[in-house]
Amino acid sequence: MSHFDPWIDGSIVGVYLLATLIAGVMVRRYVGKVEDYLVAGREMDVYLGIASLAATEFGIVTCMYTAQAGYTKGFVGAMPGILQAVAMLVIGLTGFCIKPLRLSGVMTIPELFQRQFGPRVRWAAGLVIILGGLLNMGLYLRIGGEFLSAVVGFDPGWLEWVMTALLVLVLVYTVLGGMLSVLVTDYLQFVVMSVGLLVVTYLVFADVGWSRLVETVETHHGAGGFDPLAAGGPGWSFLLFQSCLQVAATITWQPVIARLLSAKDERTGRRMYVRTSAFFAARFVIPGLWGIAALAMLTPVELAGLPPGADPSLHAMPVYLARLVPVGLMGLLVAAMLAADMSTDSSYMLTWGSVIYNDLCAPFRKGPWSEKRGLFWNRTIVVLIGVFLLFFGLWFPLKGDLWTYFSVTGTIYLSSVSVLLVSCCYWKRANSWGAAAAIFFGAAFPVATLVLPYLDPEKSFVLTRLGDNWNGFLAYVLAAVGMIVGSLLKPASRSGPTVAMGASS
């Protein structure tokens, strides 16, 4: 039973939505060029960058899969967040890959690849980025709708309409203002989201208490709920895959890189990485605690009340919050979650759209386009991505848990693009043969992991036997081996990385 009051809580949500829309639409007048639209004219400073990066990388879907990880794995479910926090800190301090990337002055990663590997590799890299990125993002709307349905208590039959309305609202300001609107609304959304997350976490601690959280993990997961390498824990394969995934995401996840490329200079980008690093642990730890609390507090009768086919590990957290959060604060929770979701959706649509425009459409642009024409096509691409999300989110049946789905879809491109980026920046001998091999082998395992269970479950036994974690880890190993072997096989025709380490920003 939800405590959402249509008047009190509905008013809070309504004020938030209106403020976001006004702020997002108002800044559209500052957009004059494609560079303003895609990377905010490269004028973003460090604190706005922190707010934007944090808001973008925390959506309802993040809250759902991290809570599910807490529910199904205990505290160990937060390990990916801790690994990424370490990766962000180290990479921000050293400038590994991100320094040459920002100094190169490109708008997307594949644009950088063209300088070393040629236009075909740029196009192929853009294609796998879009494939992995859009498949990854495809479930955001549905999962967000399911959370809201459980917390607010509206009829699940309304879910599609709620999703559509939310998407249209986000599209309005994203299409008009591009990255500028995204940054300004991200700031507002960061504040609302953070206050909501902290208040709910306080309520959870007051309701359950630390001792009971620990007891619950001990009871359900044993030592493996605290230590990934203990009996019952996810083991080395999980740690290896997640380590590769988090390092790769830190240097090549397009929504993260878009902030780096929007930063006013390379130093600002690196400071943003360092100062946001702890957030990447918090975004797993805090909802993970909510998931453990749901495991501790929900009775079998309450779980039996879930809609038919609903996964208890995924839906337990919103059902628990619906019971826990009182009137008034429920409005804050819903506004916080809408803020989290909208900032993620807007930013992801824009950044995947930037790759389609900048890299996939590059061969079809004969001669330079006017700024007006470029803006028109960027806006059209964002709308088309929105339409794709709506329909993909409606019909795609998820098999397995959410985090595995996101890890595997992300790996389709993270494995190869991270190898390409490291090679492009630091290996003189890397060439187009190696790049092509890395892209092929990096995508092969994750695509097979995704597709085979739907086409022919019996033929997927090899992948099933290896497990998702080993499959994911192998994708990174094969991409690296493909790059090395392919590059060594091709006779060297030129020397030196073409990424200008000291180029003007």
């Binding site: 800044v27 500052y30 004059g32 303003d36 905010a40 004219g41 004028e43 973003m44 400073d45 460090v46 604190y47 706005l48 960058g49 922190i50 707010a51 944090a54 505290f75 937060a78 801790i82 500028l180 940054l183 300004v184 700031y187 960061f190 504040v191 953070s194 206050v195 997350l197 902290l198 976490t201 630390w210 620990v214 001990e218 030592a223 709920g225 605290f226 230590d227 203990a230 100062r275 702890a278 957030f279 642990a281 918090a282 730890v285 805090i286 605690l289």
Partner: protein
């Protein structure tokens, strides 16, 4: 740290909550200043890019 790492996870959870509370207040104040600065710089750049005739109109 005890055998199951309870202390480790307590420290991680406490750090995340304290850090997040602090940074929310800090970024809320400094981020607003950044937005004003960013929009100001963009407005100046845009005025500089406009032809004289457009600026006059």
């Amino acid at each position: 740290m005890n055998p199951h790492g309870h202390l480790f996870w307590w420290l991680v959870a406490a750090f995340c909550c304290v850090w997040y509370s602090t940074v929310t207040v800090y970024v809320a104040i400094k981020g607003a200043r950044d937005i004003r600065g960013m929009l100001g710089r963009l407005a100046r750049t845009k005025r500089g890019d406009e032809p004289d005739s457009e600026r006059a109109s």
